[in-house]
Amino acid sequence: MKRFKKIAGLFIIFFLLCGPAYCRDIRVISLAPSTTEILFSLGLSENEIVGITNYCNYPPQTRNIPKVGSLATVNIEKIISLKPDYVFSVGSASNPLNKSLKAAGLDVKIFNAERLDGIFLAILDIGEITGRKDKAETLVKNMRRELQEIRDKTKSIEQPKKVYVEIWGEPITSCGRNSLVDEVITAAGGINIAGSINTLYPLLSQEFIISQDPDVILLGYMSRDQAGLKKAVASRFGWQNIKAVKNDQVICDISPDIFLRPGPRIVDGIAQIQKRLYGE
């Protein structure tokens, strides 16, 4: 009987402790910059997004949120200590990180949006999970509408421009068919010169790029000195006769975060690229 009282007492204390859990805010951790952006655009606050990665740099509020590492070096102990209700992760469900997060008893949700439709689905799903369904539906509706407006403009373009997107130079890396960037360029009314290649991020040969003679080169490096890169690309051996270089159409001032990152700003990225390609 005495033991029963003890156990009952423990139970009561346990439930009392759990009580606040039911009425407190949701606590989520994001392991991708795109997910972080989605969470903010769904109206989650800094108190609800309790952990993000070092790469999460938008919106500005991300500066005040604890960092749990970058994708390759996530600190699992830190994640557990933040007591999240959900961890929004990326990659395969069976990779070591996601496996050990699950083994630690965390509710891991994985999102790998690679295409525009995938981004919309991710926003809707994340909205559902975080109790922001209405907000997510409105956001997706607006994004779809803006995308449609861009595509309508694209239809009236008579001479589509050839675009070469470079996301890294050593070795030369571009974005092939099925990549988000390919969809972005196509939606903006350009022709992605690497769009015929089946690899997501093909290492291109310079000879191919020169012989394709793109009208525009779009630099999407995740680096700081974009202007210096532009100069370096334009002065590469054998690139002087490329139309984009001759006509100073090497674009380095659109932040790659808005056209490489599968987040809510992607439509804005497409709009900006379209504007740079064809004017208003």
Partner: protein, 310 residues
């Protein structure tokens, strides 16, 4: 006999270079011509340089597993580039910090293993291997610790690549290989003696410490220059000297020039494959060199059965 073989190899190099000129992802136009030609020249410089340095390192260290990267020049170069990006946000001409890093590591390894006036080969090899490991770990440390995503891609740079962005790099590589190989050949008698054993070399009246130091420094500078220009290209410096030995025997006068020509042929053809097999995408050349060279070397090993190190 050796002369005839070398002459034939030079012919083969000419044929390979000509073939490589017309092999590529796009058809040859004037714009493409110079680009492809410079790439072939870089392949010749890198192949000849790495293979001859490999032969020299194998003789100096008296070790059949020695290769140009064994003493840490390559990871020193990698570390130089990575540090420049990670600590200083450097986004310019990566070969420069890479070359500096490579040279610093040579200096470090050499001084670590020096005992008075002498540099014992075993110590040199061991300190080189350890510095190599330390530098590689530091590269990985900075890549995983830094939030700068540029570094994740810097890993690729280390994989090796003969794409030419800057014709100055081709000239520098050609100069490094072109000046170094004749020097190696001048020292061929000393190399023969040293590969017999240092004791024996001493008895033959050779100042082995001076020769060792000179050759070590020259071969390391060439390696550092080539790593800076085209990253790490494995296999050439290890296997091609053995192939050359199977063809002309262990005497260094013929061995070095044969290794150089074979290395050049090997890289020119590998690079042609790297840019063509999955066109217009590229395959990292290191993958091709191992896939082509490995089985061929095993075949050679079975066929001659007595490829000896000395």
């Amino acid at each position: 006999m050796a002369n005839r073989k070398i002459f034939l190899l030079i012919l083969l190099l000419a044929v390979s270079a000509a073939a490589a000129l017309v092999i590529g992802p796009v058809s040859l136009t004037r714009d493409i011509l110079w680009l492809r030609l410079s790439r072939i020249l870089l392949g010749i410089a890198a192949g000849a340089g790495l293979a001859s340095c490999g032969a020299v390192f194998q003789a100096l260290l008296r070790n059949p597993l020695a290769e140009p990267y064994v003493l840490g020049v390559s990871s020193g170069a990698g570390l130089g580039a990575v540090l420049a990006v990670a600590l200083f946000g450097y986004a310019g001409f990566l070969p420069l910090p890479a070359f500096t890093g490579g040279l610093l590591v040579i200096f470090l390894v050499y001084n670590l293993s020096r005992v008075g006036q002498k540099v014992p080969v075993q110590t040199l090899l061991l300190s080189g291997v350890v510095i190599n490991i330390i530098c590689s770990s530091l590269i990985l440390f900075f890549i995983s610790a830094s939030g700068n995503p540029v570094l994740h891609d810097a890993m690729w740079w280390l994989l090796g690549n003969l794409q030419v962005f800057d014709s100055r790099l081709v000239l520098a590589s050609l100069a490094a290989a072109g000046l170094g190989i004749p020097v190696f050949m001048l020292y061929s008698r000393e190399l023969d003696a040293i590969s017999l054993g240092e004791e024996e070399a001493l008895h033959l009246g050779i100042n082995i410490e001076n020769v060792k130091t000179a050759l070590f420094i020259i071969a390391s500078i060439i390696t550092a220059a080539l790593v800076s220009a085209c990253g790490l290209i494995g296999f050439v410096g290890l296997i091609v000297p053995h192939m050359a030995r199977a063809i002309v025997g262990p005497k260094h006068k013929a061995l070095i020039i044969t290794a150089a020509i074979l290395g050049a042929i090997f890289l020119v053809l590998s690079d042609a494959a790297a840019r063509t097999i999955m066109k217009p995408a590229e395959i990292p050349i290191g993958i091709i060199t191992s896939l082509l060279g490995g089985p061929f070397f095993l075949y050679l090993l079975r066929k001659t059965r007595n490829i000896k190190q000395k």
